[in-house]
Protein backbone atom coordinates (compact mmCIF):
# COMPACT_ATOMS: atom_id res chain seq x y z
CA UNK A 1 0.00 0.00 0.00
CA UNK A 2 2.71 2.49 0.98
CA UNK A 3 4.88 1.43 -1.97
CA UNK A 4 2.01 1.93 -4.36
CA UNK A 5 1.32 5.31 -2.75
CA UNK A 6 4.96 6.32 -3.13
CA UNK A 7 4.78 5.34 -6.78
CA UNK A 8 1.73 7.59 -7.15
CA UNK A 9 3.70 10.46 -5.61
CA UNK A 10 6.46 9.90 -8.14
CA UNK A 11 4.07 9.91 -11.08
CA UNK A 12 3.75 13.69 -11.65
CA UNK A 13 7.51 14.17 -11.55
CA UNK A 14 7.98 11.16 -13.83
CA UNK A 15 5.51 12.45 -16.42
CA UNK A 16 7.11 15.87 -16.31
CA UNK A 17 10.63 14.54 -16.74
CA UNK A 18 9.57 12.32 -19.63
CA UNK A 19 7.36 14.76 -21.51
CA UNK A 20 9.24 18.00 -21.04
CA UNK A 21 12.85 16.94 -20.59
CA UNK A 22 13.76 13.54 -22.00
CA UNK A 23 11.55 13.31 -25.06
CA UNK A 24 12.34 16.75 -26.55
CA UNK A 25 16.03 16.33 -25.80
CA UNK A 26 16.09 12.90 -27.37
CA UNK A 27 14.32 14.36 -30.39
CA UNK A 28 16.89 17.14 -30.64
CA UNK A 29 19.82 14.72 -30.85
CA UNK A 30 19.03 13.20 -34.29
CA UNK A 31 17.90 16.59 -35.67
CA UNK A 32 21.43 17.84 -35.17
CA UNK A 33 22.74 14.99 -37.32
CA UNK A 34 20.23 15.52 -40.13
CA UNK A 35 21.83 18.54 -41.79
CA UNK A 36 24.37 19.16 -44.52
CA UNK A 37 27.26 18.43 -42.17
CA UNK A 38 25.73 15.22 -40.79
CA UNK A 39 26.92 14.23 -37.33
CA UNK A 40 29.91 16.48 -37.61
CA UNK A 41 27.52 19.35 -36.80
CA UNK A 42 28.45 18.61 -33.22
CA UNK A 43 32.11 19.09 -34.05
CA UNK A 44 31.35 22.40 -35.75
CA UNK A 45 30.62 23.91 -32.35
CA UNK A 46 34.31 23.45 -31.60
CA UNK A 47 35.94 23.60 -35.05
CA UNK A 48 34.03 26.50 -36.61
CA UNK A 49 35.82 29.67 -35.31
CA UNK A 50 32.61 31.73 -35.19
CA UNK A 51 30.75 29.23 -33.03
CA UNK A 52 33.77 28.64 -30.82
CA UNK A 53 34.26 32.36 -30.21
CA UNK A 54 30.57 32.72 -29.44
CA UNK A 55 30.71 29.86 -26.96
CA UNK A 56 33.71 31.43 -25.23
CA UNK A 57 32.17 34.91 -25.03
CA UNK A 58 28.92 33.44 -23.72
CA UNK A 59 30.84 31.59 -21.00
CA UNK A 60 32.83 34.72 -20.12
CA UNK A 61 29.72 36.91 -19.83
CA UNK A 62 27.92 34.27 -17.74
CA UNK A 63 30.92 33.73 -15.48
CA UNK A 64 31.49 37.47 -15.03
CA UNK A 65 27.78 37.98 -14.30
CA UNK A 66 27.88 35.21 -11.68
CA UNK A 67 31.05 36.45 -10.00
CA UNK A 68 29.93 40.09 -9.85
CA UNK A 69 26.42 39.15 -8.76
CA UNK A 70 27.69 36.94 -5.92
CA UNK A 71 30.15 39.60 -4.74
CA UNK A 72 27.56 42.39 -4.72
CA UNK A 73 24.71 40.25 -3.39
CA UNK A 74 26.74 38.72 -0.54
CA UNK A 75 27.65 42.15 0.79
CA UNK A 76 24.17 43.60 0.28
CA UNK A 77 22.37 40.56 1.72
CA UNK A 78 24.40 40.65 4.93
CA UNK A 79 23.69 44.34 5.32
CA UNK A 80 19.97 43.93 4.67
CA UNK A 81 19.64 40.87 6.90
CA UNK A 82 21.38 42.36 9.92
CA UNK A 83 20.40 46.04 9.86
CA UNK A 84 17.10 47.68 10.59
CA UNK A 85 16.72 51.13 9.10
CA UNK A 86 13.81 53.24 7.87
CA UNK A 87 12.76 52.17 4.39
CA UNK A 88 14.37 48.73 4.67
CA UNK A 89 11.14 46.83 4.12
CA UNK A 90 10.31 48.96 1.09
CA UNK A 91 13.78 48.34 -0.32
CA UNK A 92 13.50 44.57 0.15
CA UNK A 93 10.03 44.63 -1.45
CA UNK A 94 11.41 46.59 -4.39
CA UNK A 95 14.10 43.96 -4.91
CA UNK A 96 11.43 41.55 -6.05
CA UNK A 97 10.24 44.09 -8.61
CA UNK A 98 12.62 43.23 -11.49
CA UNK A 99 11.96 39.50 -11.05
CA UNK A 100 8.90 39.75 -13.27
CA UNK A 101 10.55 41.75 -16.07
CA UNK A 102 11.14 39.91 -19.33
CA UNK A 103 14.59 40.20 -20.89
CA UNK A 104 13.26 42.64 -23.48
CA UNK A 105 12.30 45.15 -20.78
CA UNK A 106 15.69 44.72 -19.12
CA UNK A 107 17.36 45.37 -22.47
CA UNK A 108 15.24 48.48 -22.97
CA UNK A 109 16.32 49.76 -19.52
CA UNK A 110 19.98 49.15 -20.37
CA UNK A 111 19.51 51.27 -23.52
CA UNK A 112 17.89 54.03 -21.45
CA UNK A 113 20.88 53.91 -19.14
CA UNK A 114 23.81 53.51 -21.47
CA UNK A 115 22.51 53.83 -25.01
CA UNK A 116 23.31 56.62 -27.48
CA UNK A 117 20.85 58.98 -25.75
CA UNK A 118 21.10 57.32 -22.34
CA UNK A 119 21.89 58.78 -18.96
CA UNK A 120 25.53 57.75 -19.03
CA UNK A 121 26.04 59.24 -22.47
CA UNK A 122 24.47 62.57 -21.46
CA UNK A 123 26.37 62.73 -18.19
CA UNK A 124 29.70 61.88 -19.78
CA UNK A 125 29.17 64.40 -22.58
CA UNK A 126 28.43 67.12 -20.06
CA UNK A 127 31.46 66.21 -17.99
CA UNK A 128 34.13 65.15 -20.49
CA UNK A 129 32.64 66.19 -23.82
CA UNK A 130 32.52 62.59 -24.92
CA UNK A 131 29.56 60.24 -25.15
CA UNK A 132 30.16 56.93 -23.44
CA UNK A 133 27.93 54.27 -24.96
CA UNK A 134 28.18 50.62 -24.00
CA UNK A 135 24.62 49.37 -24.24
CA UNK A 136 25.12 47.54 -27.52
CA UNK A 137 28.20 45.58 -26.50
CA UNK A 138 28.97 42.72 -24.13
CA UNK A 139 29.33 45.38 -21.41
CA UNK A 140 25.70 46.39 -21.88
CA UNK A 141 24.67 42.76 -21.80
CA UNK A 142 26.58 42.30 -18.55
CA UNK A 143 24.77 45.26 -16.97
CA UNK A 144 21.44 43.83 -18.08
CA UNK A 145 22.24 40.39 -16.65
CA UNK A 146 23.39 41.93 -13.38
CA UNK A 147 20.15 43.87 -13.21
CA UNK A 148 18.00 40.78 -13.18
CA UNK A 149 20.30 38.40 -11.33
CA UNK A 150 21.35 40.55 -8.34
CA UNK A 151 17.86 40.81 -6.77
CA UNK A 152 17.14 37.10 -6.88
CA UNK A 153 20.57 36.20 -5.52
CA UNK A 154 20.25 38.81 -2.74
CA UNK A 155 16.96 37.26 -1.66
CA UNK A 156 18.43 33.73 -1.59
CA UNK A 157 21.55 34.80 0.31
CA UNK A 158 19.50 36.92 2.72
CA UNK A 159 17.48 33.85 3.69
CA UNK A 160 20.74 31.97 4.35
CA UNK A 161 22.20 34.87 6.38
CA UNK A 162 19.08 34.99 8.53
CA UNK A 163 19.46 31.28 9.30
CA UNK A 164 23.09 31.76 10.36
CA UNK A 165 23.56 31.32 14.14
CA UNK A 166 24.60 34.80 15.37
CA UNK A 167 26.60 33.06 18.10
CA UNK A 168 29.04 31.83 15.40
CA UNK A 169 30.11 35.39 14.65
CA UNK A 170 30.11 36.33 18.34
CA UNK A 171 32.28 33.31 19.15
CA UNK A 172 34.78 34.30 16.45
CA UNK A 173 34.81 37.88 17.75
CA UNK A 174 35.45 36.71 21.31
CA UNK A 175 38.42 34.74 19.98
CA UNK A 176 39.83 37.96 18.55
CA UNK A 177 38.89 37.67 14.87
CA UNK A 178 38.27 40.89 12.96
CA UNK A 179 35.43 41.41 10.47
CA UNK A 180 37.33 40.34 7.31
CA UNK A 181 38.73 37.26 8.99
CA UNK A 182 35.23 36.33 10.20
CA UNK A 183 33.91 36.70 6.65
CA UNK A 184 36.60 34.37 5.33
CA UNK A 185 36.67 31.79 8.11
CA UNK A 186 33.10 31.72 9.37
CA UNK A 187 30.46 33.53 7.32
CA UNK A 188 31.41 32.58 3.75
CA UNK A 189 31.92 28.86 4.54
CA UNK A 190 28.52 28.85 6.26
CA UNK A 191 26.91 30.58 3.29
CA UNK A 192 28.72 28.41 0.73
CA UNK A 193 25.78 26.06 -0.03
CA UNK A 194 23.45 29.02 -0.64
CA UNK A 195 26.08 30.83 -2.72
CA UNK A 196 26.66 27.74 -4.87
CA UNK A 197 22.93 27.22 -5.42
CA UNK A 198 22.27 30.88 -6.18
CA UNK A 199 25.39 31.16 -8.34
CA UNK A 200 24.43 28.07 -10.32
CA UNK A 201 21.00 29.49 -11.09
CA UNK A 202 22.53 32.83 -11.99
CA UNK A 203 25.10 31.25 -14.30
CA UNK A 204 22.59 29.00 -16.06
CA UNK A 205 20.20 31.91 -16.57
CA UNK A 206 22.97 34.08 -18.00
CA UNK A 207 24.09 31.28 -20.34
CA UNK A 208 20.62 30.90 -21.78
CA UNK A 209 19.20 34.44 -21.59
CA UNK A 210 17.97 35.66 -24.91
CA UNK A 211 15.57 38.59 -24.61
CA UNK A 212 18.12 41.09 -23.34
CA UNK A 213 20.67 40.17 -25.99
CA UNK A 214 18.00 40.29 -28.67
CA UNK A 215 16.93 43.80 -27.66
CA UNK A 216 20.43 45.23 -27.35
CA UNK A 217 22.08 43.73 -30.07
CA UNK A 218 22.93 43.57 -33.46
CA UNK A 219 26.57 42.97 -32.69
CA UNK A 220 26.41 40.80 -29.63
CA UNK A 221 27.34 37.21 -30.32
CA UNK A 222 26.11 35.04 -27.51
CA UNK A 223 25.08 31.46 -28.10
CA UNK A 224 21.30 31.85 -27.67
CA UNK A 225 21.41 34.64 -30.29
CA UNK A 226 23.37 32.48 -32.73
CA UNK A 227 20.95 29.60 -32.21
CA UNK A 228 18.10 31.98 -32.98
CA UNK A 229 19.69 33.32 -36.18
CA UNK A 230 20.69 29.85 -37.42
CA UNK A 231 17.21 28.53 -36.73
CA UNK A 232 14.95 31.34 -38.02
CA UNK A 233 17.08 33.26 -40.47
CA UNK A 234 19.51 30.70 -41.78
CA UNK A 235 17.09 27.79 -41.69
CA UNK A 236 19.98 25.76 -40.40
CA UNK A 237 17.99 23.52 -38.04
CA UNK A 238 20.74 20.94 -37.63
CA UNK A 239 23.37 23.45 -36.44
CA UNK A 240 20.78 25.14 -34.18
CA UNK A 241 20.03 21.75 -32.56
CA UNK A 242 23.72 20.89 -32.14
CA UNK A 243 24.45 24.31 -30.62
CA UNK A 244 21.47 23.90 -28.25
CA UNK A 245 22.75 20.58 -26.99
CA UNK A 246 26.26 21.97 -26.66
CA UNK A 247 24.93 24.95 -24.69
CA UNK A 248 23.11 22.59 -22.32
CA UNK A 249 26.12 20.30 -21.87
CA UNK A 250 28.64 23.08 -21.33
CA UNK A 251 26.41 24.80 -18.77
CA UNK A 252 25.83 21.53 -16.97
CA UNK A 253 29.56 20.75 -16.98
CA UNK A 254 30.51 24.21 -15.68
CA UNK A 255 28.01 23.90 -12.84
CA UNK A 256 29.20 20.39 -11.95
CA UNK A 257 32.80 21.62 -11.81
CA UNK A 258 31.85 24.62 -9.65
CA UNK A 259 29.89 22.42 -7.27
CA UNK A 260 32.77 19.97 -6.93
CA UNK A 261 35.31 22.72 -6.38
CA UNK A 262 33.29 24.44 -3.66
CA UNK A 263 32.48 21.09 -2.06
CA UNK A 264 36.20 20.32 -1.87
CA UNK A 265 36.94 23.76 -0.45
CA UNK A 266 34.26 23.36 2.21
CA UNK A 267 35.58 19.92 3.16
CA UNK A 268 39.16 21.15 3.34
CA UNK A 269 38.07 24.07 5.49
Amino acid sequence: MTRRFEFLLLLPAGVFVLAFLLVPMAALVPVAGSGRLGWSAYLAVVTEPRYRATMISTLVVAAATTALTLAIATVAAQFLASRRFPGRDLLVAMLTFPLAFPGVVVGFMVILLSGRLGLVAQASEALFGERIVFAYSLGGLLVGYLYFSIPRVILTVMAAVEKLDPALVEAARSLGAGPFRIQRDVVLPALAPALVAAGALCFATAMGAFGTAFTLATRIDVLPMVIYTEFTLGGNVAIAAALSIALGLVTWLALALARNATGAVAAAG
Binding site: D165, A167, E170, A171, A172, R173, L175, G176, P189, A266
Partner: protein, 336 residues
Amino acid sequence: MTAEETTAHGASLSIRRAGKTFPGGVVALAPTDLDLPAGEILVLLGPSGCGKTTLLRLVAGLGAPDPGGAVLFDGVDVTTVPIERRRVGMVFQSYALFPNMTVAENVGYGLKVRGEPKSSRDAEVGRLLDMVGLAELSDRPVDRISGGQRQRVALARAIAIRPKILLLDEPLSALDAALREKLRIELARLLRRFAITAIHVTHDQAEAMAIGDRIAVMNQGRIVQLGTPEDVYVRPADRFVAGFVGVMNRLPGRLLPGCGVAEAFFRPEAVAVGPPEAGSVVAMVTAATFFGAYRRLTLDVAGHAVEAEVPAERPVRPGDAVSLAVDPARLHVFPT
Protein backbone atom coordinates in the same frame (compact mmCIF):
# COMPACT_ATOMS: atom_id res chain seq x y z
CA MET B 1 48.35 18.44 36.78
CA THR B 2 51.23 20.79 36.35
CA ALA B 3 51.71 23.79 38.57
CA GLU B 4 50.65 26.05 35.73
CA GLU B 5 47.29 24.37 35.39
CA THR B 6 46.40 24.75 39.03
CA THR B 7 47.44 28.41 39.30
CA ALA B 8 44.38 30.59 39.36
CA HIS B 9 44.30 32.73 36.26
CA GLY B 10 41.73 35.16 35.12
CA ALA B 11 40.95 38.65 36.27
CA SER B 12 38.78 39.95 39.04
CA LEU B 13 35.59 41.52 37.75
CA SER B 14 33.81 44.62 38.98
CA ILE B 15 30.55 45.88 37.60
CA ARG B 16 29.61 49.41 38.55
CA ARG B 17 26.06 50.74 38.07
CA ALA B 18 25.79 48.84 34.78
CA GLY B 19 22.26 48.76 33.42
CA LYS B 20 20.79 48.14 30.00
CA THR B 21 17.81 49.80 28.44
CA PHE B 22 16.84 48.58 24.99
CA PRO B 23 15.53 50.88 22.26
CA GLY B 24 11.86 51.33 23.01
CA GLY B 25 12.52 51.85 26.71
CA VAL B 26 12.46 48.25 27.91
CA VAL B 27 14.76 47.99 30.95
CA ALA B 28 16.44 44.60 30.59
CA LEU B 29 18.84 45.24 33.44
CA ALA B 30 18.53 47.78 36.23
CA PRO B 31 21.82 49.51 37.21
CA THR B 32 23.74 46.69 38.89
CA ASP B 33 26.84 46.44 41.06
CA LEU B 34 28.74 43.20 41.32
CA ASP B 35 32.22 42.13 42.43
CA LEU B 36 33.84 38.86 41.55
CA PRO B 37 37.29 37.94 42.90
CA ALA B 38 39.73 36.28 40.51
CA GLY B 39 39.12 32.57 40.14
CA GLU B 40 35.57 32.59 41.46
CA ILE B 41 32.71 30.91 39.61
CA LEU B 42 29.50 32.93 39.76
CA VAL B 43 26.20 31.57 38.50
CA LEU B 44 23.52 33.97 37.27
CA LEU B 45 20.27 32.13 37.96
CA GLY B 46 16.80 33.22 36.97
CA PRO B 47 13.85 32.67 34.65
CA SER B 48 14.02 33.73 31.02
CA GLY B 49 13.85 37.49 30.61
CA CYS B 50 15.31 38.20 34.07
CA GLY B 51 18.34 40.00 32.62
CA LYS B 52 20.96 37.33 33.23
CA THR B 53 22.01 37.01 29.58
CA THR B 54 21.98 40.81 29.21
CA LEU B 55 24.38 41.10 32.16
CA LEU B 56 26.62 38.39 30.68
CA ARG B 57 26.73 40.21 27.34
CA LEU B 58 27.74 43.46 29.05
CA VAL B 59 30.68 41.67 30.63
CA ALA B 60 31.54 40.07 27.28
CA GLY B 61 31.49 43.36 25.43
CA LEU B 62 28.66 42.23 23.15
CA GLY B 63 26.59 45.10 24.46
CA ALA B 64 27.42 48.45 26.02
CA PRO B 65 25.89 49.41 29.37
CA ASP B 66 23.71 52.51 29.63
CA PRO B 67 25.73 55.71 30.20
CA GLY B 68 27.19 55.77 33.70
CA GLY B 69 27.76 52.03 33.89
CA ALA B 70 31.21 50.45 33.84
CA VAL B 71 32.84 47.02 33.60
CA LEU B 72 36.31 46.59 35.13
CA PHE B 73 38.74 43.68 34.77
CA ASP B 74 41.40 43.72 37.51
CA GLY B 75 40.38 47.29 38.28
CA VAL B 76 40.93 48.45 34.69
CA ASP B 77 37.90 49.97 32.97
CA VAL B 78 37.16 47.88 29.87
CA THR B 79 33.72 49.34 29.15
CA THR B 80 34.79 50.71 25.78
CA VAL B 81 37.13 47.83 24.86
CA PRO B 82 35.48 45.78 22.08
CA ILE B 83 35.01 42.06 22.58
CA GLU B 84 37.79 41.28 20.07
CA ARG B 85 40.32 42.83 22.45
CA ARG B 86 38.65 42.11 25.79
CA ARG B 87 39.97 38.56 26.05
CA VAL B 88 36.84 36.83 27.25
CA GLY B 89 36.18 33.17 26.58
CA MET B 90 32.62 32.43 25.54
CA VAL B 91 30.63 29.20 25.53
CA PHE B 92 27.21 29.46 23.91
CA GLN B 93 24.03 27.48 24.29
CA SER B 94 24.32 26.39 20.64
CA TYR B 95 28.11 25.89 21.22
CA ALA B 96 28.63 27.87 17.98
CA LEU B 97 31.41 25.54 16.83
CA PHE B 98 32.67 26.38 13.34
CA PRO B 99 31.17 23.59 11.21
CA ASN B 100 33.82 23.89 8.49
CA MET B 101 36.62 23.07 10.92
CA THR B 102 37.74 19.98 12.81
CA VAL B 103 37.75 19.65 16.59
CA ALA B 104 41.42 20.69 16.77
CA GLU B 105 40.95 23.59 14.32
CA ASN B 106 38.07 24.90 16.41
CA VAL B 107 40.10 24.76 19.61
CA GLY B 108 43.12 26.35 17.94
CA TYR B 109 41.23 29.09 16.10
CA GLY B 110 41.75 31.82 18.70
CA LEU B 111 45.48 31.11 18.82
CA LYS B 112 45.67 31.13 15.02
CA VAL B 113 43.93 34.51 14.89
CA ARG B 114 46.48 35.78 17.41
CA GLY B 115 49.26 34.67 15.08
CA GLU B 116 50.69 32.02 17.37
CA PRO B 117 53.14 29.77 15.44
CA LYS B 118 51.74 26.39 14.41
CA SER B 119 54.06 24.29 16.57
CA SER B 120 53.17 25.97 19.88
CA ARG B 121 49.54 26.16 18.78
CA ASP B 122 49.41 22.42 18.14
CA ALA B 123 51.01 21.71 21.52
CA GLU B 124 48.49 23.90 23.33
CA VAL B 125 45.53 22.41 21.44
CA GLY B 126 46.80 18.92 22.28
CA ARG B 127 47.13 19.81 25.95
CA LEU B 128 43.60 21.25 26.10
CA LEU B 129 42.04 18.31 24.24
CA ASP B 130 43.78 16.01 26.71
CA MET B 131 42.33 17.95 29.60
CA VAL B 132 38.78 17.71 28.30
CA GLY B 133 39.30 14.07 27.27
CA LEU B 134 38.92 14.52 23.51
CA ALA B 135 42.48 13.89 22.31
CA GLU B 136 41.46 10.99 20.07
CA LEU B 137 38.78 13.07 18.30
CA SER B 138 41.03 15.96 17.30
CA ASP B 139 40.68 15.40 13.52
CA ARG B 140 36.93 14.81 13.54
CA PRO B 141 34.63 17.33 11.90
CA VAL B 142 32.53 18.86 14.67
CA ASP B 143 29.27 17.64 13.16
CA ARG B 144 30.39 14.06 13.79
CA ILE B 145 30.71 14.24 17.58
CA SER B 146 28.06 14.03 20.31
CA GLY B 147 26.38 16.94 22.08
CA GLY B 148 28.41 16.43 25.24
CA GLN B 149 31.64 16.31 23.25
CA ARG B 150 30.69 19.51 21.43
CA GLN B 151 30.20 21.24 24.73
CA ARG B 152 33.71 20.25 25.78
CA VAL B 153 35.17 21.41 22.45
CA ALA B 154 33.43 24.77 22.96
CA LEU B 155 34.90 24.97 26.45
CA ALA B 156 38.42 24.10 25.26
CA ARG B 157 38.15 26.66 22.42
CA ALA B 158 37.16 29.38 24.87
CA ILE B 159 39.92 28.47 27.34
CA ALA B 160 42.61 28.29 24.63
CA ILE B 161 43.05 32.06 24.41
CA ARG B 162 43.74 32.19 28.19
CA PRO B 163 40.83 34.51 28.74
CA LYS B 164 40.59 36.92 31.64
CA ILE B 165 37.04 35.75 32.25
CA LEU B 166 35.14 32.73 30.99
CA LEU B 167 31.47 33.34 30.16
CA LEU B 168 29.05 30.45 29.74
CA ASP B 169 25.56 31.16 28.40
CA GLU B 170 23.30 28.20 29.27
CA PRO B 171 25.89 25.73 27.96
CA LEU B 172 23.95 22.66 29.12
CA SER B 173 20.40 23.51 28.16
CA ALA B 174 20.65 22.04 24.65
CA LEU B 175 21.22 18.58 26.14
CA ASP B 176 18.68 16.03 27.36
CA ALA B 177 18.05 15.72 31.10
CA ALA B 178 20.16 12.63 31.86
CA LEU B 179 23.20 13.92 29.97
CA ARG B 180 22.75 17.37 31.47
CA GLU B 181 23.01 15.97 34.98
CA LYS B 182 26.19 14.07 34.16
CA LEU B 183 27.83 16.97 32.35
CA ARG B 184 26.94 19.42 35.11
CA ILE B 185 29.31 17.55 37.43
CA GLU B 186 31.88 17.22 34.65
CA LEU B 187 31.69 20.96 33.88
CA ALA B 188 32.01 21.92 37.55
CA ARG B 189 35.12 19.73 37.80
CA LEU B 190 36.68 21.22 34.63
CA LEU B 191 35.98 24.81 35.67
CA ARG B 192 37.65 24.21 39.06
CA ARG B 193 40.58 22.62 37.26
CA PHE B 194 40.96 25.60 34.92
CA ALA B 195 40.77 27.76 38.07
CA ILE B 196 39.47 30.70 36.10
CA THR B 197 37.09 33.53 36.87
CA ALA B 198 33.81 32.43 35.33
CA ILE B 199 30.22 33.53 34.97
CA HIS B 200 27.74 30.80 34.17
CA VAL B 201 24.18 31.67 33.15
CA THR B 202 21.38 29.18 33.72
CA HIS B 203 17.70 28.90 34.57
CA ASP B 204 18.27 25.48 36.19
CA GLN B 205 18.69 25.76 39.97
CA ALA B 206 20.22 22.28 40.35
CA GLU B 207 22.88 23.29 37.79
CA ALA B 208 23.47 26.54 39.68
CA MET B 209 23.99 24.63 42.95
CA ALA B 210 26.44 22.20 41.35
CA ILE B 211 28.55 24.77 39.52
CA GLY B 212 28.58 28.05 41.42
CA ASP B 213 30.88 29.19 44.21
CA ARG B 214 28.24 31.86 44.54
CA ILE B 215 24.84 32.28 42.97
CA ALA B 216 23.22 35.55 41.93
CA VAL B 217 19.48 34.96 41.70
CA MET B 218 17.97 37.42 39.23
CA ASN B 219 14.42 38.55 38.64
CA GLN B 220 13.00 41.35 36.51
CA GLY B 221 16.35 42.89 35.68
CA ARG B 222 17.79 42.86 39.21
CA ILE B 223 19.98 40.65 41.37
CA VAL B 224 17.60 39.75 44.20
CA GLN B 225 20.02 37.59 46.17
CA LEU B 226 23.74 37.00 45.98
CA GLY B 227 25.24 34.27 48.10
CA THR B 228 26.63 30.76 48.33
CA PRO B 229 24.39 27.92 47.11
CA GLU B 230 23.70 27.17 50.79
CA ASP B 231 22.70 30.78 51.55
CA VAL B 232 20.29 30.85 48.66
CA TYR B 233 18.76 27.49 49.53
CA VAL B 234 18.57 27.83 53.32
CA ARG B 235 18.02 31.58 53.67
CA PRO B 236 16.09 32.80 50.63
CA ALA B 237 15.93 36.59 50.57
CA ASP B 238 12.40 36.93 49.32
CA ARG B 239 9.35 35.11 48.01
CA PHE B 240 10.77 34.92 44.51
CA VAL B 241 14.01 33.21 45.56
CA ALA B 242 12.10 30.92 47.93
CA GLY B 243 9.81 29.84 45.12
CA PHE B 244 12.47 29.60 42.40
CA VAL B 245 15.23 27.65 44.12
CA GLY B 246 14.50 24.05 45.09
CA VAL B 247 11.19 22.46 46.03
CA MET B 248 9.28 24.75 48.36
CA ASN B 249 5.90 24.47 50.06
CA ARG B 250 3.88 27.59 50.51
CA LEU B 251 0.90 28.12 52.81
CA PRO B 252 -1.08 31.36 53.03
CA GLY B 253 -1.74 32.85 56.47
CA ARG B 254 -2.02 35.99 58.52
CA LEU B 255 0.64 37.83 60.49
CA LEU B 256 -0.70 38.03 64.03
CA PRO B 257 0.25 41.55 65.19
CA GLY B 258 -0.79 43.68 62.23
CA CYS B 259 -3.11 41.08 60.75
CA GLY B 260 -1.31 41.44 57.38
CA VAL B 261 -1.52 38.70 54.83
CA ALA B 262 1.63 36.58 54.48
CA GLU B 263 2.87 33.36 53.02
CA ALA B 264 4.89 30.73 54.86
CA PHE B 265 7.55 28.88 52.86
CA PHE B 266 9.22 25.64 53.96
CA ARG B 267 11.08 22.78 52.30
CA PRO B 268 9.80 19.18 52.21
CA GLU B 269 12.69 18.09 54.46
CA ALA B 270 11.62 20.62 57.15
CA VAL B 271 8.31 18.84 57.64
CA ALA B 272 8.07 16.30 60.46
CA VAL B 273 5.37 13.70 59.83
CA GLY B 274 4.01 11.59 62.73
CA PRO B 275 0.96 9.55 63.77
CA PRO B 276 -2.22 11.67 64.07
CA GLU B 277 -2.55 13.19 67.55
CA ALA B 278 -5.07 15.48 69.17
CA GLY B 279 -3.90 19.09 69.15
CA SER B 280 -1.63 18.77 66.15
CA VAL B 281 -2.18 19.74 62.54
CA VAL B 282 -3.71 16.73 60.82
CA ALA B 283 -3.27 16.06 57.12
CA MET B 284 -4.36 13.44 54.62
CA VAL B 285 -1.76 11.68 52.44
CA THR B 286 -2.83 12.05 48.79
CA ALA B 287 0.28 10.57 47.15
CA ALA B 288 3.42 8.74 48.23
CA THR B 289 6.38 8.20 45.92
CA PHE B 290 9.30 5.97 46.77
CA PHE B 291 12.67 7.58 45.89
CA GLY B 292 14.97 4.92 47.32
CA ALA B 293 16.63 7.00 50.06
CA TYR B 294 13.36 8.63 51.13
CA ARG B 295 9.66 8.72 50.45
CA ARG B 296 8.11 11.91 49.06
CA LEU B 297 4.58 12.49 50.36
CA THR B 298 1.97 14.88 49.06
CA LEU B 299 -0.28 15.92 51.92
CA ASP B 300 -3.60 17.67 51.90
CA VAL B 301 -3.61 20.34 54.63
CA ALA B 302 -6.99 22.08 54.73
CA GLY B 303 -7.15 22.12 50.94
CA HIS B 304 -3.47 23.04 50.36
CA ALA B 305 -0.99 20.56 48.94
CA VAL B 306 2.20 20.18 50.98
CA GLU B 307 5.22 18.09 50.02
CA ALA B 308 7.04 16.24 52.79
CA GLU B 309 9.85 13.73 53.02
CA VAL B 310 9.89 10.73 55.33
CA PRO B 311 12.46 7.91 55.65
CA ALA B 312 11.86 5.29 52.97
CA GLU B 313 11.23 2.54 55.54
CA ARG B 314 8.16 4.35 56.98
CA PRO B 315 5.18 2.57 55.37
CA VAL B 316 2.97 5.59 54.64
CA ARG B 317 0.25 5.08 52.02
CA PRO B 318 -2.19 7.36 50.23
CA GLY B 319 -5.34 7.73 52.36
CA ASP B 320 -3.46 7.63 55.68
CA ALA B 321 -4.07 10.43 58.17
CA VAL B 322 -0.89 11.92 59.67
CA SER B 323 0.09 14.78 61.94
CA LEU B 324 2.48 17.37 60.65
CA ALA B 325 4.85 19.88 62.18
CA VAL B 326 7.28 22.31 60.58
CA ASP B 327 10.64 23.12 62.11
CA PRO B 328 10.20 26.86 62.99
CA ALA B 329 13.91 27.52 62.29
CA ARG B 330 13.36 26.44 58.70
CA LEU B 331 10.15 28.36 58.15
CA HIS B 332 10.32 31.52 56.05
CA VAL B 333 7.50 34.03 56.22
CA PHE B 334 7.20 36.73 53.58
CA PRO B 335 4.40 39.28 53.42
CA THR B 336 2.40 39.12 50.22
